[in-house]
């Protein structure tokens, strides 16, 4: 199963909300993937085993997995584009 990782500063609120929204989107599209929210400090650890990274922080670091804009999922602005990217990545 592919893994999606969502990170924000604390890992308890924003990333959790985005993770839930993403899970729902995936459920609706009948795509099975493991979505989890983490705090920015443990990102390095988890990013190695993930396939997609949804970022809600200012990107100071590049990772070698595809990175999506988490703010889009949170605010709905540009969500269609990010959703399409996400679904393509998980297919």
């Amino acid at each position: 199963m592919k893994k999606v990782i969502v990170a924000c500063g604390s890992g308890v609120a924003t990333s959790q909300t985005v993770a839930s929204k993403v899970k729902k989107i995936l459920e609706e599209n009948k795509i099975k993937a493991d979505v989890s929210a983490v705090d920015i400090k443990s990102l390095d650890k988890y990013v190695k085993t993930s396939d997609v990274y949804i970022s809600i922080t200012k990107n100071t670091k590049e990772f070698n997995i595809p990175t999506l804009n988490g703010i889009a999922f949170l605010t709905g602005m540009g969500i269609e584009e990010e959703t399409k990217k996400l679904l393509d990545l998980l297919k």
Binding site: C8, G11, A13, T14, S20, K21, T57, L74
Partner: protein, 670 residues
Amino acid sequence: MSITARDNLIKYLIRKKKVSLNDLMLKFGMSKVVTIDLINEINKSFKSDIIFSNQQGIYMTEQSKMICYNQIFRGKAPLFDCFESDERYVLIIIKLLVDQEFSSLQKLADFCLVSRNTILNDMKVIKKILGLKGLSVSYSRKEGYLISGSEFNIRNKLVTMVKQLLNMPAGKIILNEKQMVNGEEIFRLRKRLEKVESRIGITLTDEQLEDLPYILQFIIKRASHFQQNWTFQIAKYDIQNTIEFPEIKGMFWDYNSLKESDLLYLSLQILSSNMVESAFRISEGDEISLATDQFMDHIEAYLAIQFTQKNDLKEKLILHVGPAIYRSLIGFKINNPLVDEFIEQYEDIYNIVLKAVEPYEKIIQSKLSQEEVVYLSMIVLSWVLKTEEAESLFKAVVLCQSGTSVSKLLLSSLKQMFKEIDFVGAFAVRQYCEFEEVDFVFTTVPIETQKPTFLVPSLLDKDSRKTLIQQVYQEIQGNNKRITQKLLSSIEEFIPRENLKKVSDRITDIFQHQFRKPSISDLEKETDQFIFTHEHISIFTRLIEWDDLVDYALEPLLRRGSITEQYVKVVKDIFYSKYDNMLIARDVYLPHASPEYGVNQMDFQIIILKQPIHMPNGDDLKVVVTLAPDVDNKHVSTLIKLNTLFNDDNVFAQIYQEKDIGAIQAVLNN
């Protein structure tokens, strides 16, 4: 001073260790005064003493011999017109071991400046010398003379021979004269050795620093001329994981043909090769076994306990201690990143083990390093923690990159924490594929697997234990299919065959339908959503300063005792530096921090700012949701609802423009 007299005297002294004045007078037919005058004149002409005399006789040091050789003889007349038999044996063995070219009887005779018959006789002695180390000499028309046997023995012999030659009078000069060494490379290796010496904090004796470059050069020659795959005992002793090895390996960065075992062997030479054989003797004998018995007795006495399965423990200890003693003897210091952390957490065990290792220290006749003692403490501790395994529904495996004692300790801790999980053992990551039948994987390094995986630190402290327990039970309870299967397989034998299907269907039904894990949409509908009362909503009609915002926003939570002052402080730090991304919906900001910074209970506050605050990023701030998050993420469902509400432009406008708190409350709780 006659040049010929000078050259003859020096040439003579170079080949000798020490001679008496009388010998010189007889050899060169000179009077005592003339001989002493000649020596004085020579020393004067070199501007420093190169010929020394004391009560035992007259001699040159190896350094002064080299100076004279370089200034007077090198590249001119050959210095040697014959070799002693001892010198020949060594030269022939070295030549056969490092030179790949065809070595015929004639070639060896030319090389040693003797007749073929002499070489034939020499070969008889050489065969005996080599036979002692299990090596043999063969001759074929195709290959010429060839030495064969185990590569490890061959290399040891090569090293011994090079050392022997270097110890002979003018040994280095012989090597130069016979063009067996490359001076530039010797110089380069020496410089690199000096660097490695300072980097890994060892001190080579001057003699070692003099000789090692030569030894290394010959090993490298052997390795590159006789490329083959070979291994030796030390390869399995985890030397790669020591502090010294990578540093030493780096010294040979530009020797591309060297294999890992070649590099290991070179490292051994640098860190004291003379210990190699005695170390092997010890690790093969029964001294370690006896010392281990004593070690376990000590621990039992100090801890006043009796180990269960003592033989297994002994086996484990020996498995670790053998290499540890070996490493200590030859001067490798094992890398153990957990030393400080372990000693801090398990100081008692550490101190007891530190006392109990005395039998081991007797063997190596020095102290075991702290790192090694900690590894032993880990093994001991894991045994102390060993408990009877409970009947278990689930199987799990513990994976770890290297260092079996680390994973053994982790394994014991996990066994204690999760009695319902049957841990099949602790293994290296590369062995994982053998354990595909397990339900869970606990690993200290991220791995790729379809199984539920828990990434755990090597040492579990209080916090990480807590988190891990939560994660594991979430996984166990969250996956009803797994529970169904496990339950069925565990009670299958008690169910009459004809009823098996019925029972199975019934259980499946109960778990997979009635106790189904709530989906996201269920979460949103969930009734335990946060209920917003009057006091959870604040409307500010006056302008609030940006710098005061967090104080105002958190004040109601503080008043209700939901958070601590510390939490306020942390939220301020975080929010004012990262507010850009702390959103819960479009234009709605969410000052918060992790619950561990001081949350007593989950709480929310909705702040409506009738006079928008102009933020440093240029945007206007109208609505703020302050949050005191719940440890178990119970706040998330409410956040999702708020996100949906505020992202709806109409709802946002309605809430923002509303003057009546009751009306806002109704929208929020709807």
